[in-house]
């Protein structure tokens, strides 16, 4: 349990460092992927919406620390998206290799819309512009690409410790 929590903490730090230091230099068409969101969705798909949603909250909060928008906005968007994707995918059949990028891209669209929508409601009027749709769609595509690497990584890091109750419930990949 402690080892898993420690691994999750390290994953969070790694994602924040990559998001703030490396990916600003790797913009494609002016956008960056939301690494925390993609990792949260991966965890939600494999280990359940509660765990994925909680990790999404933590990852979003970590992202918020480096953004101009209010603290908690990304946390809410990431948590809700990861939770919803986790609940929805439980009705799917055993996932194929292409499911990860497709789920991540879909989550990117949902997460982006939630971020802009909730942001607009709490006074971030500058987000309510048509160009935000373009940004959301491009970033979602980028999310799909990084999911090819990030899904297996996040799933491996979040794997429950052997003999823990969570390990017995985990569906595996």
């Amino acid at each position: 349990m402690i080892a898993r929590a420690f691994r999750m903490g390290l994953l969070l730090v790694l994602l924040v460092v990559l998001q703030t230091t490396v990916f600003p230099h790797l913009r494609i068409a002016g956008v960056v992927p939301d690494l925390g969101l993609v990792a949260a969705v991966a965890i939600s798909v494999h280990y359940g919406p509660e765990f994925g949603g909680s990790f999404g909250f933590a990852a979003g909060l970590a992202s918020d620390l480096f953004l101009q928008t209010p603290l908690g906005l990304s946390a809410l968007a990431f948590a809700l998206t990861a939770y919803l994707v986790g609940v929805a995918q439980s009705r799917l059949m055993r996932p194929a290799w292409w499911v990860a990028p497709v789920l991540a891209a879909a989550a990117g669209v949902v997460g982006g819309l939630l971020f802009v929508g909730i942001g607009g409601l709490v006074g971030q009027d500058q987000l309510f512009v048509l160009r935000s749709i373009r940004t959301i769609l491009l970033a979602a595509l980028y999310d799909g690409i990084v999911a090819l690497v990030l899904f297996p990584l996040a799933t491996a890091v979040a794997r429950p410790d052997p003999r823990s109750p969570a390990a017995l419930r985990a569906p595996g990949y």
Partner: protein, 276 residues
Amino acid sequence: MAEYRSNRRRTILILLILSSITLITLDSRGGGSGVGGTVRGVARDAFAPVQDGVDGILSPVEDWWDGVTRSGDIKDENRKLRRQLQAARGAADRAKAAAAENRELKRLAKLPIDGSIDAVEAEIILGSPGNFEATVGLNRGMDAGIGDNMPVVSGRGLLGRVSRASKSRSTVLLLTDRDSGVSLRDVRSNAVGVLNGRPEGSDQFLDFVKADDDVKKGDELVTAGSEDSPFPSGIPVGRIVSVRKRPGDLNPRITVALYGDASRTEFVRVLVWPVP
């Protein structure tokens, strides 16, 4: 058992939503300067050495990769000569880069800004980590005398203002951010308008200029320095590239080319304004 899991899921979801809404409300009310601002500052300072370290790690890896791709069969004279030629070109490129850097610093020193305003030199080290904002990160913060809302200029003109400063880092809200607005004055005619930020790559417009104001293509624009503006007057910002006036329009459509471009800037000056 299934009902227990379902209740647990619902409870966690509600807790996450309530926590987020509480944080958003507290941070919005504090205007970024309350507990949220403090937590942000601490986090940015804590991550600063890690970010520096990653930058430091990536540079040698890049150099090593360059070295690998440039090395080859040393017995092959032709390839050796090509490598030497490449090395010479590389040195020339480095010299050009150094000269450009030198020019940038000289321009920075010559920018026509009121001499009574102190300035802090800083380097742009980070881009924006998000998709809905135009910001850059500087390598200096409050320890160097930088504070919130201070204007930031490059050698060419105004870039933006400091939106958040922690002890060792500052974030600059660029003029192209949708949350940015600055009142500008036409140097030739003294007509005044407002530049509201639009994303990089889009046209920038000078809004709220009266239809009968005298503005022409080529006019230079500087900060107006109005009473409630965070910018002193007279900082070069850009020039008018087109003016479109249509009958019946209350305001002309004025397109502006900005002088400052953060993507091509390495060194900046943060103006200590308002003067303490």
